[in-house]
């Protein structure tokens, strides 16, 4: 990894190759307010990238992402890569991958959908199309392609 203008972390997660301008959305998904108050969160915006032109980077100390959060990131920042850091070393590196079924990540944009009616049920979407990504509500079958607006 090229040297960056933000400090290395001992343990935590680096989300790299986030599409330009999407870092704040990634932070929203991670839920920065819920993090350990002693953790450092570093954000780099508009960084040169050989792979995707310009990119954003987010580094979060003392945190590993849940599969649900990885799914949410896969939706809004499909080019992102996730590196798990332990003792200053990259222990695991992977690209984000969209599963066939995405549960609890998005809110169905159909106000009349049963998942928006105080039922004890989590939203669920199935992939209707992969390029570009279009999801379909597993309950009301409404299609969704604006994931930023639909983040739960």
């Amino acid at each position: 990894m090229r040297e960056l203008k933000i400090t290395p972390i001992k343990n935590g997660t680096v989300i790299d190759h986030i599409g330009n301008g999407l870092a704040l959305e990634v932070l929203r998904i991670i839920g920065v307010r819920d993090l350990d108050k002693d953790s450092t969160v570093s954000v780099a915006l508009h960084v040169r990238s050989q792979k995707i032109g310009w990119k954003d980077i987010v580094k979060v100390e003392n945190m590993e992402l849940s599969p649900r959060k990885v799914n949410a990131i896969a939706l809004i920042a499909p080019t992102a890569t996730i590196a798990i850091i332990r003792d200053f070393k990259v222990r695991e590196k992977r690209t984000v991958d969209l599963p066939e079924r995405i549960v609890g990540v998005l809110r169905c944009p159909n106000p009349s959908c049963i998942t928006n009616q105080h039922e004890p049920v989590e939203s669920a979407f199935e992939v209707a199309r992969r390029r570009p990504v279009v999801l379909r509500c597993a309950y009301c079958e409404r299609q969704v392609d604006d994931f930023l607006a639909a983040l739960a």
């Binding site: 597993a138 009301c140 079958e141």
Partner: protein, 310 residues
């Protein structure tokens, strides 16, 4: 695939072979539905009708179907007097009801309710309309009407006329017709075109879709003219509704150049889209269509509850 024990939530749950099986069984059920033959195929079985919004016709049609096959029904006919009023979730209500009968027929104002009910229920759930969502038994009876008239669904040329944007019946019907390689011709008032996502899905499923430039020309070549109702409740403004509602009306003159075998269908109730003078014409199939709801629901209930077609 076998229908026994399965839910029926969306027409998309059924493969072409499943639909063919339902239509063939429905055809055999017609004499029973007409009261000319009796059947005890569902004797001792109990169907729970959970209607959370009014729909007399669909409810009666399921009740009739069950009773014609010797089965019984219990129902929540008025949700305002039930536990739902006390704030019970649909999931809990369904979980309780699934302990009573052998299957549940659900009508609910919210889209996706039937899918949720199917997850909560141990017994098969049949969707009898969830909001502006799916209503698969309506689609099956539409198909049964065409199947009875033509002996096949393959290669039919079907004109879909009216509200193609909001009409749920028309989207499900178009999907099912696509499975059989029918040719769809669309004709709608401005602003009520088939949604792009629905169209894309249909084309993906193999539908051949064309737009009607002039209705009379489309009718001339058609096997089926499927007329939909403009859904008044979809228009915020009464004036807007009136403008659209009056924009198409099928009368004898508009059928003048049609093939003799053309059938005119409508999911009913109609509100002026088809003139009463058409009722006596050999083209009128909408009352037969409404009747076929009974044998189609008999077929569904028999197949889902016993796996046998009567």
């Amino acid at each position: 695939m076998v229908l026994k024990g399965r839910d029926l939530i969306s027409i998309r749950d059924l493969a072409r072979e499943d639909i063919e099986e339902v239509l063939q069984v429905a055809r055999r059920m017609i004499p029973v539905a007409e009261g000319k033959r009796s059947s005890r195929a569902l004797a001792g079985r109990l169907l729970t009708l959970a209607f959370f919004e009014p729909s007399t016709r669909t409810r009666l049609s399921f009740e009739t179907a069950m009773q014609r096959l010797g089965g019984d029904c219990v129902s929540i006919a008025d949700p305002s007097s039930s536990s739902v009023r006390k704030g019970e979730s649909l999931s809990d209500t369904i979980r309780v009801l699934s302990g009573y009968g052998d299957a549940i027929v659900l009508r609910h104002p919210n889209e996706g309710a039937a899918r949720l009910a199917a997850e909560a229920s141990d017994r098969p759930v049949i969707n009898a309309g969830d909001g502006a969502g799916q209503h698969p038994s309506q689609t099956l009876l539409d198909l049964a009407t065409m199947y009875e008239a033509f002996g096949t669904l393959s290669g039919l040329k079907v004109v879909l006329l009216g509200d193609l944007r909001y009409g749920r019946t028309v989207h499900s019907l178009a999907h099912a017709l696509a499975l059989f390689g029918a040719e769809l011709v669309l004709s709608n008032p401005p602003g009520l075109a088939l949604p792009e996502e629905v169209r894309e899905r249909l084309e993906h499923a193999g539908a051949r879709i064309a737009e009607a430039d002039q209705l009379h020309r489309a009718v001339r070549d058609a096997d089926v003219l499927y007329v939909t109702r403009i859904q008044r409740e979809r228009f915020g403004d009464e004036a807007e509704y009136r403008k659209v509602a009056g924009s198409y009306r099928i009368d004898l003159a508009s059928l003048a150049g049609a093939k003799s075998r053309l059938i005119v269908m409508h999911p009913l109730p109609r509100s002026g889209e088809i003139a009463p003078e058409v009722d006596g014409s050999p083209h009128a199939a909408y009352f037969r269509q409404a009747f076929l709801g009974v044998p189609v629901r008999m077929a569904l209930l028999a197949l889902i509850l016993t796996g046998k077609g009567g």
